[in-house]
């Protein structure tokens, strides 16, 4: 039963004829043919049943596929948030903080001159090393945006320049040359106008990216939810139709398909609600707390630097004292200060108590600062220096307490964040695989259920 090797009996195509409308008629014919065939099928019950079966199975598979796709996407975003983008944002803030800390420590060490504590010197070295290390690993990351890479380049370029200025300042200071103070001020200016500015921009950029990843993870999987709802509605309609036509209440296959769709829809909604809640907590409670705490920490560091620079400048102008007052105000100015805000954001007692300790220490600091300032203005320079960097009742000790409390608070919030992000990510666990399995089961159920009805027509 072989066909003759002749050309098919259909009208031969006319490739040589350039008439454009000639392309239309054959396609319309094929389409019309299909429609006609469908209409013919719809006129018979088996035909209708086959169509219903295909649509239901298709909808269930679509539901499963969309769930798989959207949840994989959300889970990816959640793990990006947890494993990388929040880390990047924290790294950027740590670069900023290390630089500010190094600048502050340089001023404190300068004040002590030749009597500089080895500990102060080490702290300066440590902060510079830390910042340089973070910069190196940030530069090595290939996923950087061009903008981030530029900030990192600026930081890497100017950091050695800064440390060079600090060393020159130190050398001149040890020789008793007032020129050392001018160098340190130049270094401080370089730090603020170049390094800290770039670090701040980097932090803003990474934080923005982190927030957008977080928002992505929290996005409702609308397509999957809609597909699930439609699949359930069609299943319901098919079963009602089945009941009306056969007077039989249950079709096991369709019932199994419905059960699979309901379970998947509930799982999807439940898991996403859980993840959303956890990520919301990570965002609102931990990430925002972290942001405010980082801000408070930097204000404290800068106020401390300005306090020291005021004495380094030895009465040549009031710019640093003014700047101190500004930073101190933003740190602890009652309501609206960063510490106050952090206290309001803290969720639990473990979060609140270090913030309270920091607030207490900064109040003590401000008080001692006034005493040191009074000494300086009364011409008691040595006494003022002692009140600022001395080992007893100095503003330096108050600052150290603020510093330690804020470190504790930041570590706590960081742990909270990681836990909440873990929860959020965990809520999606197994869902993509489950979606595929349930959709397949559902589709199988639908096909079997419809097949059973079809067999009644044979």
């Amino acid at each position: 039963m072989t066909h003759p090797p002749s050309a098919p009996p259909v009208a031969p195509p006319q490739p040589a004829v350039p008439a454009p409308p000639s392309a239309e008629p054959p396609r319309r014919t094929a389409f019309a043919e299909a429609v006609t065939r469908l209409r013919a099928a719809a006129r018979t019950e088996p035909g209708r049943l086959r169509t219903i079966g295909a649509v239901v199975a298709g909808l269930l598979l679509l539901f499963g596929a969309l769930t798989f796709y959207e949840i994989t996407d959300r889970a990816d975003a959640a793990s990006t948030v947890r494993d990388s983008s929040q880390r990047l944002s924290e790294d950027a803030s740590e670069i900023y903080r290390s630089l500010a800390d190094a600048n502050t420590t340089a001023a404190v060490g300068f004040l002590a001159g030749a009597d500089e504590d080895a500990e102060v010197r080490e702290r300066y070295e440590r902060q510079i090393d830390h910042a340089a290390g973070l910069l190196a690993s940030a530069a090595a990351r290939s996923s950087q945006s061009a903008e981030a890479a530029e900030y990192i380049r600026i930081l890497g370029l100017h950091l050695p320049e800064y440390t060079g200025l600090v060393e020159t300042a130190r050398t001149n200071n040890r020789q008793g040359h007032p020129l050392g103070g001018a160098y340190l001020r130049h270094a401080d200016q370089q730090m603020h106008e170049t390094l800290l500015r770039a670090a701040e921009d980097l932090y803003a950029l990474e934080t923005e990216r982190f927030r957008s990843d977080l928002a992505n993870a929290r996005d409702w999987p609308w397509l999957a939810l809609a597909a699930g709802a439609v699949a359930l509605a069609v299943l319901g309609w098919a079963q009602r139709r089945h009941f009306l036509r056969t007077n039989r209440v249950f079709n096991r296959g369709l019932l199994a398909a419905t059960a699979a769709a309901v379970v998947l829809l509930a799982w999807l909604a439940g898991a996403h609600t859980l993840a959303r809640g956890a990520l919301h907590e990570a965002d609102r409670d931990a990430a925002q707390s972290l942001g405010v705490l980082n801000e408070a920490w930097v204000e404290a560091l800068q106020a401390r630097g300005d306090e020291s620079m005021t004495l380094v400048m030895r009465g040549a102008g009031s710019e640093f004292e003014d700047s101190y007052a500004e930073h101190m105000g933003r740190l602890a100015d009652g309501e609206g200060g960063a510490l106050d805000e952090a206290h309001g954001l803290a969720e639990d007692i473990e979060g609140r108590s270090p913030v309270e300790a920091a607030a207490g220490a900064s109040a003590e600091w401000a008080e001692r600062h006034e005493a040191a300032r009074a000494s300086e203005q009364a011409g008691e320079y040595e006494e003022a220096v002692d009140l600022v960097i001395g080992s007893e009742d100095s503003t330096g000790q108050s600052f150290d307490r603020v510093d330690a409390s804020l470190r504790e608070a930041v570590e706590h919030e960081q742990a909270e964040f990681t836990a909440a992000a873990d929860d959020g990510h965990g809520a999606f666990g197994g869902l993509p695989a489950g979606a595929v399995l349930l959709a397949l089961l559902g589709a199988l159920g639908a096909v079997l259920g419809i097949g059973r009805r079809l067999s009644e027509y044979r």
Partner: protein, 364 residues
């Protein structure tokens, strides 16, 4: 190290110069533009006049106080001579010397302490010694002489723990501190100017200096002339040096920093090729960086004086009397000893006697 008064005066001076320089360039074809600029500058002059005039009402017409003789149009530095004030008096003239206790001296006696405003950042003049932590320098030796005299004359008790209290005063706070009687006197490399005489009283001159260029040893710059073309020159913002450079830069690019010491940082870092300040402060720069040298002749003649409250005439006379003794004795005077101690090798060669101190001038 100019204060607010000088800055105001400078604004007035700059404004006055405006139309002249506009006139000089009017030959060019961008006439309309320049006319507009001249008009603006004129408006600026009127404005600056009304501002600097303030309570005195005659700011614009004041002769430039800080001995900035207006450089001639061709830019050649004039013979450096102190500029007389509007009333024809030399600003360096002070009240005649006399130790006669009046209200001010009695105030110091009652307090048992002399309060002096000083600088802690001018090497050789007033700075913290790294060994002792004390403020030392040429200015501080003079304060010591005044304090010793007050003790000798019984104004301050011999057993006083701290006969002198030193307050570090920022440059722009000097006149305010004196007027508010926060300090009895300021001894802080402060130039005597006509404008400052409006606000504070000065002793007779205790040091003479002038604006000069300071360059690294191998610099091709050889003076305040065409060799500056294309170079970067740094000066303290609001200083006499800045005014000079703005008026005639000889083609140099100008950088203004908050303090003359910042200019030395700039030169050392290669951000500037030269700096301009007065030769006395420049001596401090050379002491901190021996590779720097002064070049050219001083452009101005300025004198340092002890600044006091306008009402404390008795104290001014007393300080003038101390200065008479301080300068007296030729190369063995306390003045010469202080110069040898701080300035020898920087302002004059090692092993040579110091120059003569400025001669006191009195107005009565």
């Amino acid at each position: 190290m100019p204060d607010r008064a000088e800055r105001t005066e400078r604004a007035a001076r700059t404004a006055r110069r405006g139309p002249a320089s506009a006139r000089a360039r009017r030959a060019t074809d961008r006439r309309a533009l320049l006319l507009a600029a001249a008009g603006l500058t004129l408006a600026g002059a009127v404005l600056a006049g009304s501002v600097s005039g303030g309570p005195r009402g005659d700011g614009v017409h004041k002769a430039p106080g800080h001995a900035v003789a207006e450089p001639a149009e061709d830019g050649i530095a004039p013979a450096a001579e102190p500029e007389p004030c509007a009333d024809g008096r030399d600003p360096a003239e002070s009240y005649s010397a006399e130790r006669l206790a009046g209200d001010a001296v009695e105030r110091i006696r009652d307090r048992g302490q002399l309060i002096v405003g000083v600088d802690q950042n001018s090497y050789l003049w007033g700075y913290r010694s790294p060994e002792t932590g004390e403020i030392v320098g040429f200015d501080l030796d003079l304060v010591q002489a005044i304090a010793d005299d007050l003790v000798e004359e019984g104004v301050l008790g011999e057993d006083a723990q701290n006969p002198v209290k030193y307050l570090a005063i920022p440059t722009d706070q000097r006149t305010r501190a004196i007027r508010d009687q926060e300090v009895d006197m300021v001894v802080r490399a402060m130039s005597i100017t006509c404008d400052r005489w409006e606000e504070v009283a000065f002793s007779t001159a205790y040091f003479e200096t002038g604006q000069q260029l300071l360059v690294p040893r191998n610099s091709p710059i050889d003076g305040y002339d065409a060799s500056l073309a294309g170079k970067t020159v740094c000066s303290a913002a609001g200083s006499t040096a800045e005014t000079w450079l703005e008026h005639e830069s000889h083609g140099a690019e100008l950088v203004a920093e908050p303090n003359h010491l910042d200019c030395l940082v700039h030169v050392q870092l290669g951000l500037a090729d030269a700096l301009m300040t007065d030769s006395a402060l420049a001596a401090g720069h050379i002491a901190q960086d021996p590779s720097m040298r002064l070049i050219g002749e001083p452009l101005t003649v300025e004198s340092y004086g002890v600044a006091m409250n306008l009402n404390d005439v008795d104290l001014v006379r007393w300080v003038n009397a101390v200065l008479e003794d301080y300068r007296d004795g030729g190369s063995q005077s306390r003045w010469a000893q202080a110069a040898d101690r701080w300035l020898q090798g920087y302002l004059y060669p090692q092993g040579e006697p110091p120059p003569a101190p400025p001669q006191p001038q009195y107005r009565d």
